[in-house]
């Protein structure tokens, strides 16, 4: 079942945290809310869950208006950052909890619990208490507990952020796999852009209570609608420039005394704009060999990282761009070397500042 959020407003007392937010999430899709700390991701998620009352607007699961429905009757599954396992109950009892609440019979419960634990790879740990599990195992139990009730929607608030880097990738894969398999509409909250890009069907980037952009991972990454989004999703060079004439489409802008072509995806307003170029989209070549659409610069810092090299390259007096190179000879330029930086006009964006 899909989720349809219409003109939602949420406030803590007088403090409006979410204001007029609308969003449609496709049935069975994996939707990620991405944004910096304090932008309202948790608030939005908990409002969908029913733990916070909406001050305005409506929330629909499929065709059903759930705005006034208390959380325990919304048929949701929820996974928490701190696992929220019941510490006094065994893993089996934790997973069985929601099934018991639904009055299912003992044999069915045992079968479903067994299957759910098998699916997260913990079939053998049913008798343990949560305290005797590792962080990754705990979050898998929490996932099994949320999925075993076959909820209409699955809500997860930074479920990976308490895990260390390696476990994070493992549990992340488990989540994606199970979600695909069960086909449950999922809303996932994170402030980790890599997680968002890797897991989601669609991503909503939030900025102080509003959705700044909603789109597929590549849309968000390639066609960011603002420097805020571009900067938040992956590293991006952002350079303040004079706005080109009111045009949309391909334009020519000045950068460090040179002219380069770039793309304007959305109409600009005002006299200033930002040029956005991702480090891996800028190619380096020895001075004078850059061809069209390039500017000259000087390597000021070089950081060798094995499969790739990070450079910081000064252009003129007050612009410095980060560049990342791959492939043969990616580490060949030394600090002080003069180089040409070539831009791909399609991947170089000019956005409103």
């Amino acid at each position: 079942m899909g989720i349809d959020i219409q003109k939602l407003g949420v406030a803590y007392g007088d403090h409006r945290v979410i204001d007029g937010l609308s969003l449609k999430i496709e049935p069975g899709s994996f939707f990620t809310l991405l944004g910096p700390s304090g932008c309202g991701k948790t608030t939005l998620l908990r409002t969908i869950a029913g733990f916070i009352d909406a001050a305005a607007g409506r929330i629909l699961f499929g065709d059903k208006d759930v705005t006034g429905l208390p959380a325990h009757r919304r048929d949701i599954g929820m996974v928490f950052q701190d696992y929220a396992l019941f510490p006094d109950k065994t893993v089996n009892d934790n997973v069985a909890y929601g099934l018991r609440a639904r009055g299912q019979d003992g044999a069915t419960i045992r079968r479903k619990v067994g299957e759910a634990l098998e699916r997260v790879g913990l079939g053998h740990l049913g008798q343990r208490h949560p305290a005797a599990l590792s962080g990754g195992q705990r979050q898998r139990v929490a996932l099994a507990r949320a999925l075993v009730i076959q909820p209409t929607v699955l809500l997860m608030d930074e479920p990976l952020s308490n895990l260390d880097a390696k476990l994070r990738v493992q549990v992340r894969d488990t989540i994606t796999e199970l979600q695909r398999e069960a086909g449950i509409t999922t809303v996932f909250v994170t402030h980790d852009q890599e997680e968002a890009l890797a897991m989601s069907d669609r991503i909503g980037v939030m900025k102080s209570g509003r959705l700044e952009q909603v789109g597929t991972p590549s849309e968000i990454y390639r066609d960011s609608v603002s420097s805020y989004v571009a900067d938040f999703v992956g590293a991006a060079n952002t350079v303040e420039i004079d706005a080109p004439g009111a045009a949309q489409g391909m334009v020519t802008v000045g950068l460090g005394g040179h002219s380069i072509s770039a793309r304007v995806p959305a109409p600009l307003a005002g006299s200033r704009a930002v040029l956005i170029a991702r480090p891996e989209d800028i190619a380096l070549s020895p001075q004078g060999t850059g061809g069209a659409n390039c500017v000259q610069g000087t390597v000021s810092r070089r950081q060798y990282l094995g499969g790739k090299t990070h450079y910081l390259i000064g252009i003129g007096a007050d612009v410095a761009l980060a560049v990342e190179t791959h492939g043969d000879g990616h580490d060949r330029y030394m600090p002080g070397a003069d180089v040409d930086l070539s831009f791909d006009p399609m991947k170089t964006l000019v956005l409103a500042s």
Partner: protein, 547 residues
């Protein structure tokens, strides 16, 4: 927010109900006291108070006594806590008994045993008299100060100990590495950190001394004290003085409130932080130094324990009226208590059991709402439930007696008013014990249960309450222990046939029947200790884990 009322109303109604109960049984009696002092025709209580030098003297004496006992308690409690946390020495484990002693020995018993030792007819007094040494009378200032100090200093000890234990030794080491000498660096760093706890313990002692009735009345002699005069105004034979009793109770309330505000002000001004970190590993002391320090600490413990030794001895000693025949043993004292008049014992058991159950029930629910379900009422509930701290037992007793002696809720003469006095008097205590683990239970647990389809209130009972059980169990045992020994409020509200054990002990001491009083004291200790023992040993309840 108009929508989604469904998941709020239940807690909202419960907190409203709790609010009504607190207003009726706590706020209303308090207001009755305050307004009562304004009665009395053209000369209201305050005019009489100012006109009569005896009352002002009582106020002054009470403050002087509280100050003296508090200072001595700090002098005794702080060094002892430092020794206990930093050094290892022979006999140190005896120090661990202190918190329990402080909590367990009812102060009436302590006062009584001091009398049995150094009172006019005491063992030590008589022994010295036989070699022509005449001790000064223990009644009055000496008795008050000595007995109250040994009754209350453990509160300073406990809170200081907790602070020193939680203090990061690294801080101290850092200070030392900067070149200050060990002693100076210690003082420089440690003192500001433990200061708030010392202060909190000291002010607690100050308020407890101001509200103290039992010891003050038994040992006070000719020294006029506020609590005793208030009590006398309330129960004086030949007609109580309702205006004066409420005026004096108001004064007591006012003084304690001032002290509590002073405490807040001091603590907020200092911007102290709770430092948590690595515990200091106690340094073993041995040889002369070890024995010296161990001996000093041991002496303090023994003096603290003396009431117990004296009590047990007295309980089994033959007596004829007030005369104790030391060295002759008997069980007659117990027989008399258990066979001829067991009512006080039964009363204590019943009233305390009911009060403990009600108190813990209310505390669990209210502290849960205060911590987890904040709404319009919860801040007020929070304040109201700590209000009894600002009321001496005598004031609570007077407030209840005045409020419920007629009208729609007539409780005077029933056991219910004693139970009510117990519940109210110990409410802050049971609240604190019950809420101690609530902060460690994440909100998400409850939300997880709700998200799995269980409604909010059943969720509380299914997943939150089980996690609170250890805290509730220890709160129950501790509340029981402090409830059975309650004297100052119950002695005002009880009526004939409703005596409790502490009241009976007080009466026996008053009639100078020390042997019977001792026997009753031993029984009272058993009533306190047996549940503690059963809970800690059989059910492994950790009494002080949360402190």
């Amino acid at each position: 927010m108009s929508r989604g009322i469904g998941n709020r109303t239940v807690w909202w109604w419960i907190s409203l109900a709790a609010m009504v109960v607190m207003v009726v049984f706590l706020l209303y009696p308090l207001l009755t006291i305050l307004t009562g002092s304004l009665g009395g025709g053209d000369r209201n209580g305050w005019a009489q108070l100012l006109a009569d030098p005896r009352y002002l003297e009582a106020v002054r004496n009470t403050l002087v006594l509280a100050a003296a006992v508090t200072s001595l308690s700090v002098c005794l409690g702080v060094p002892l806590a430092y020794l206990a946390s930093r050094y290892e020495f022979p006999g140190k484990s005896a120090l661990a008994l202190l918190p329990l002693i402080a909590l367990v020995i009812p102060e009436v018993i302590a006062a009584q045993t001091w009398l049995m030792l150094v009172g006019n007819n005491g063992v030590v007094t008589r022994a010295l008299r036989s070699v022509d040494i005449i001790l000064p009378s223990f009644y009055g200032w000496p008795g008050l100060i000595v007995s109250l100090t040994f009754t209350y200093y453990a509160y300073v000890y406990i809170s200081t100990l907790a602070a020193i234990r939680g203090f990061d030794v690294q801080l101290e080491e850092a200070a030392r590495s900067l070149g200050t000498s060990p002693v100076r660096s210690r003082l420089k760093v440690l003192v500001p950190v433990i200061m708030p706890s010392v202060m909190a313990g000291a002010l607690l002692v100050f308020t407890m001394v101001m509200g103290n009735f039992g010891t003050s009345s038994i040992l006070g002699g000719k020294v006029r004290l506020l609590s005793v005069m208030t009590y006398q105004a309330a129960v004086a034979e030949g007609g109580a003085d309702p205006v004066m009793q409420s005026t004096l109770a108001s004064v007591a309330v006012g003084l304690i409130v001032i002290v509590l505000f002073l405490q807040r002000w001091i603590l907020s001004r200092g911007r102290y932080q709770v430092v948590q970190g690595r515990n200091a590993r106690p340094v073993p002391l041995s040889g002369r130094q070890g024995w010296l320090i161990g001996g000093a600490a041991g002496a303090v413990v023994i003096v603290s324990l003396m009431p117990l030794i004296m009590l047990v001895t007295g309980a089994f000693t033959v007596s004829r009226g007030p005369v104790m025949r030391w060295g002759e043993w008997t069980l007659a004292n117990f027989e008399r208590l258990l066979l001829t008049n067991p009512t006080p014992i039964l009363n204590t058991l019943i009233y305390s059991a009911v009060a403990t159950l009600i108190g813990i029930g209310i505390s669990t629910l209210v502290s849960y709402m205060i911590v987890k379900k904040k709404n319009l009422f919860t801040p007020a509930l929070d304040y109201l439930s700590t209000l009894p701290l600002a009321l001496s037992g005598t004031a609570i007793g007077i407030g209840l007696a005045m409020s419920f002696n007629s009208g729609w809720l007539h409780l005077t003469g029933t056991g219910a008013i004693v139970v009510l006095a117990y519940v109210i008097r110990r409410l802050p205590f049971s609240m604190r014990s019950a809420s101690s683990t609530l902060y460690n239970i994440p909100d998400s647990i409850e939300e997880a249960s709700i998200s799995l389809g269980v409604a909010p209130v059943p969720s509380f009972f299914k997943v939150v309450l089980p996690l609170m059980v250890p805290a509730i169990a220890s709160a129950m045992v501790l509340t029981w222990a402090v409830t059975v020994s309650e004297l100052s409020a119950s002695i005002i509200v009880y009526s004939g046939g409703r005596e409790t054990m502490p009241i009976q002990i007080y009466k026996l001491i008053d009639s100078n029947l020390m042997a019977q009083a001792s026997a009753m004291g031993v029984l009272l200790l058993a009533v306190i200790l047996v549940p503690i023992f059963v809970a800690t040993k059989l059910f492994r309840v950790e009494l002080f884990s949360s402190r």
